[in-house]
Subunit: 372 residues, 5 copies
């Protein structure tokens, strides 16, 4: 599995530019987000007997299916074509603020109910491939038999749902649009497991590496992982509340059984949050491991210096003493050793003795082992 390298991690910024409409703009104004992808439609119409999948150019097939009272899932990918989105809003009777929310990507996940229009609106964040970042906003709008989903980019976690619908698996065809909403939310939540799994493995590898060979680049990676975890947490935390609300209350158009299954999604989100919190603690601990590993290395360096210096300083002193130029001819008190027959070998022996004693002392203090 691909995991972001240092360079990529460093580029995970907390950019907030795309979060909001230009300051002071009137609410309900639709504006193309910067860097929006081309808009395309994907339509699924199904009955208990079969299902039709199409990629319509305009909304006519959708209009027909709705008038025919059929079960419809319309998926809009890319936010470039504002006119088309406005048309969708008009066709499905979407609240203007909700339409605006679909375009203002990087919203906090939330769910809202319009009791008047009997419509349910859910905003979620979908994890991407690899580390799961960047997250992609997915808006779901449910009204009667019609489910609309809007996503930022091509590529999503919904492919298995489409396949199950095509195969006619389980309750995919017998369920209504609310069941489809559950199936999509379930797939979206499941999409967080793979990135977190990758993060867990990355953490394990980093810990091992930090213990063995601490390196400043590990610091950068730890920081990067913490940022990735922060992003996941910011997405999952409010999703917990969203799912709790969907599961509990009598939400427009959600059958009792659908809500029971949404409780399962709720459990998964709690489990994911558990994991994120655990990983955050592990990542915080990693910093300690790294710092303590660096400090161990430093201690080794210092010990080598101390041992070498402490060993040779007394010897060098002895050599220095016998390098003094006191005149032995003046008096017998002046460095008579220099004139002794075995002066030099005895001095060397004395030096060896000093060094040996020091080494023994070092060994007794445990400085010569591999430990601290």
């Amino acid at each position: 599995m691909h995991f972001p390298g240092i360079a990529e991690l460093a580029s995970i910024r907390f950019s907030i530019r795309a979060h909001r409409r230009p300051p002071g703009q009137a609410p309900g104004t639709l504006e193309e987000p910067p860097g929006a992808f081309e808009t395309s439609l994907s339509l699924r119409v199904w009955t208990e007997e079969g299902h039709v999948a199409s990629e319509p150019e305009d909304l006519d097939p959708v209009r027909e299916a709705i008038s025919a009272g059929q079960r419809v899932w319309l998926n809009v990918t890319g936010l470039q074509n504002l006119a088309l989105l406005r048309e969708v809003g008009a066709l499905l009777g979407i609240h203007p603020l909700w339409l605006e929310d679909m375009l203002n990507t990087r919203q906090r996940p939330k769910q809202e109910l319009d009791p008047e229009r009997r419509a349910l609106f859910v905003v979620l964040q979908m994890a991407g491939p690899g580390s799961g970042l960047p997250l992609e906003q997915v808006s779901l709008h449910l009204k009667g038999n019609v489910l609309l989903t809007v996503q930022e980019r091509p590529g999503d976690a919904f492919e298995p749902v489409r396949q199950r619908l095509a195969r006619g698996d389980g309750r995919m065809r017998s369920g209504g649009a609310d069941w489809m909403l559950y199936a999509l939310v379930d797939a979206l939540v499941d999409g967080y497991y793979a990135p977190l799994e990758a993060l867990g493995e990355e953490l394990d590898q980093l810990e091992e590496a930090a213990l063995d060979r601490p390196h400043p680049t590990q610091l950068v990676r730890i920081r990067g992982l913490k940022r990735v975890l922060l992003h996941h947490r910011r997405a999952l935390w409010p999703m917990r509340e969203v799912l709790a609300a969907l599961e509990r209350e009598d939400r427009a158009g959600l059958a009792a059984d659908t809500r029971l299954h949404l409780r399962d999604c709720h459990d998964h989100v709690l489990q994911l949050l558990d994991l994120v919190e655990t990983f955050r603690e592990v990542a915080s601990g990693l910093m300690d491991v790294y710092l303590s590993s660096v400090s161990n290395r430093m201690n080794e360096v210092m010990k080598v210096l101390t041992i070498i210096a402490t060993l040779f300083i007394p010897l060098t002193f002895v050599a220095g003493v016998y390098g003094m130029n006191f005149d032995p001819d003046v008096s017998p008190w002046n460095m008579p050793e220099l004139g002794w027959r075995y002066g030099y070998p005895v001095t060397l022996l004395a030096m060896a003795l000093i060094a040996g004693t020091l080494l023994l002392w070092f060994r007794r203090r445990g400085w010569l082992g591999g430990g601290v």
Copy 2:
């Protein structure tokens, strides 16, 4: 975008002098805050058809507009003219404690309802340009068709609202004074995005700098950023509660649709708080990065010392030995090396060998690379 330098950041103190009336003064006493700006009025009167903007010298035009039952937004800038403010209070029937709150700047954001007078009072903190500091207190008083706003200084985040009113955009003219209140709160909340964006970029730059070239001034900047974030958090945290209260309860004069739109502001404040918390975590982590970066530098210094010292100490010892003055004439045991034909070159060679062995050992321990 301009961001405060070190000197400016250092001057962000937690001054609390302006928070309160002189201790022991009677409640409801109006007193000019120290350093108050000159007071000026700005009046907006609008109907569905058009709108009139004026900068009246006294309250007569306001009085007329109110008697005519028109929709009125009166903005008071600067708190120097207490007599005028008292007059405004009398004209609009404002509770004395609320009038005092308008003057006691740096209040905690709050909202209060006077069920008797059917008036709503909201105190918010507005972000300034640049880093958003110093914050400016904005008080909003809504009663029927009349909205009063009081701000400390010239310059505000409301310009786009004035332009939309002038252009007749959206619901600006069809909405009542409560819609105007929403529009102003919305603009005020939006005004926090730019400063936080700047803070985020500053954090990213600081992190890079701390990794590359740690310097004590970065410590000062990290501390400054944390203080700025503390200020933003202190302003935004209670605004969350204020907006939750406005959105939920049946507040005097707030139409259902206005409250629905205020929920949008609430979402934005939550998003801003998310960002502030994230940035605070990042800033805390920055300290770790800085300290670990400093310690890396230190380790390099120590390693250089250790390598050089460990390399030369044994060599110097050898040189010291052959500098001893034992008399080779006395006995053949006394430093015969000095008299050998190749004594000197062999000694130099031995020294080179020692140095080479040590260098090899250093390399094997990984001390000669660029890492830790």
Copy 3:
């Protein structure tokens, strides 16, 4: 403003001796707290028209005023005269446990209601001058038109209230005993601003000092400030709950308008707690600044050592080499340099070259600047 020095701060102990009655003593037993001040009375009787202030020797004037149905504020200072306090308790019909609470100073702030006797009992902690410590317990007992306050020591934050009553300011005379209770609580809460202001300035100065010239005494001061902040927090935190309770519920004898004004006090306590929390975070950060500043100093010391040692160690080695006593007469291989015409100057030059190269290398690594 006076701020406690190191010696004073060090003496801020968490003494708990005075918190409690001797273990095992019967509840409701009155006992003079150790080191209690002499008891004195101060009486204020007022009507809308005027007011009388006196310092009575006994309770007769109080008894008269109460029988006459007048508005009465009796202030007791000092807890030495237990007989007098018992008499006061009997006169006003105070619950025995409350009477005991008045004597057991350093209580947690609390409020209690005796529905039977229709009496309200509030215990607060009042900040002293300077750093606000030691705190002083103030007990307020309100029953009908009679307000009793009991404080530990002479000197309090109530002087401005007395002056306003004397001047007949605002609602001081028209209000009842409950309004007086509000005015006193308001003055007491306001009394926390000055000490916190002083603490804020102290923190700013300490931060600057810790960056410039770190010194162990700063550590003691940081610890002292944290202790002072802990004391303030322990006093303010429960006062928040006390004021919330007074403001919300239909407390005996508190008029609706009085409760509205108490909400103002509640806001102030929240603001003070905000400040205390902010200061605590700043103080925690100060420790980091101090430690990092110390470590910077250390790094400088180490760098000087490393530069000097690294510079001279190779030179000393060279000098050592040419101090060896190999006999040049034996062979032309033995230190012929010693006999060269320019041997010495060339050697000196070589040494200068080595030193220069090392200095250049240090400069390129940025070790010769003032940074880390």
Copy 4:
């Protein structure tokens, strides 16, 4: 008691692979978890008079016992035989989502009620032997007189319950299936004490070792212990909620007395969580102890270096001075000491004096003791 060594601890990864069905799979799909154990059945049927234990090959004996209205505990060990599990689900009328949950091991502990089927479903995590890891999921399904338990692996904490049933101890035979559920939950909760006890002893030993002889492997063990504690906490925290729910609400088929006994289990879980939190704090403190112990060691090393170097550096300098080759013949100012009668002994004496003074100074600073 066996406790995991370093190698084992290092292998405690936060693997999340087994947490979930393959992404996108339809809900309610049963799939064999990777590495599932062989499935085996164990049946207990009891009345007040006696009990029958059997290990049936198929479900026929279970079917008989149920039709006879007997009290039944069916235990399924190992999740390999999906067909058998589906058959069990059909026989007992288990909700498909619950059946799926039984297979998706490493669920968060939870309890759910199916009011329609009057069935109760509880998922718990059971501690294994030694350190308690890996945890094993146990699902309990109670409906009327029939209790089903599903566990991942052979070996469990239920042996004492089986023995008490065999011996006819206490209320084991007079109680219904709900009492059996309580007995099993109680045994499962009790099973956490031994691992935590072992962890506590390990912590105590580690602390002692870290103080005496800090070693990097201790760091690995501390990290390992923290991970083990995280796992226990993740299992126990939601069990708290599960037991609180079982105890409080009128759960299907739980007699009042059973619920009273479950409160006892609840108390035990709270006590276990207390212990886990305490151990986590102790483990965090251990890191401090380890680091401070390492730093103490380092300080000792540095002190030895400093003492030796500081002692010999001045002596070596003196020796160096008298090693200079100034020519005493040229002038009486050039090192006349070299020609003195007692030059050498006096020099040696001076050196001894210098060394003695330094040693005295060291002793006065307390550097020669064993302290810091």
Copy 5:
């Protein structure tokens, strides 16, 4: 006051062996806890007029007093005699689970109500002498006029209550068994003040010592104090909830006035928890003080090394230069200084100048003072 020394503190383990019955044992089984003390009875029977204290051998006097409808306090000390305890349980009609709880010492404090039997059961932890550890479990069982208390060991905090009963102080004799329960709980809570006071003094002394002469044994003591505080917190935290429950709800047999007095105990527990939290913060800060004190010491050591080494390294180099053996006879360029008349004194002077300059530079950097 005696405070545990290092050895004692080190022995404060988190042993959990005694917390629980052997895993898998049937609930309601009574078993003698390991190391239980011998069981003895102590009986107090009182009326308004007088009271009788006795140490009965068996339960006959208790049975008589109960049948006579008298107010009875039966205290059981030591848990060795299971038969007697079972007899007590039968006599007073105690729930089997409660009887088991009395024996399972180190329970979490809790209170339970048996509405059927109209009995109240409270489990608390009593502080011992000195540091308050080991804690001792006290169980209180109140039913009508009969109060049973069970404690682990001889020696308790109830002596003052017994004396007040003997003296007939206050309401001791006029109150019922519920008042006796209050008096005992009050005495038990008061018993925590002395140990915490001792802990506070110990903390103050440790802080002073850590600043003056940091020593690793202080680390052990800090850790020991933190463990003691953890134990106190684990005992007091749930007692808060217990007292809140007793005070608020209409508990069996607790008169309104008794509950009012229990509120006083509640206040004390809150105060004690405040203290424990404060002490925990102080103890955490102590670690910082210790580490920073150690690091200061280290810095001093390093500075001494640096100053001595930096001072002598250049001087030794100079001496080394003039120890070189270049032959001055070969050319006038070879060390002519050696032949100068004042060569030696000038060299010594130059050395003194170098040393002086360096000392001046050190002084200007502030390295020669006592600071950091």
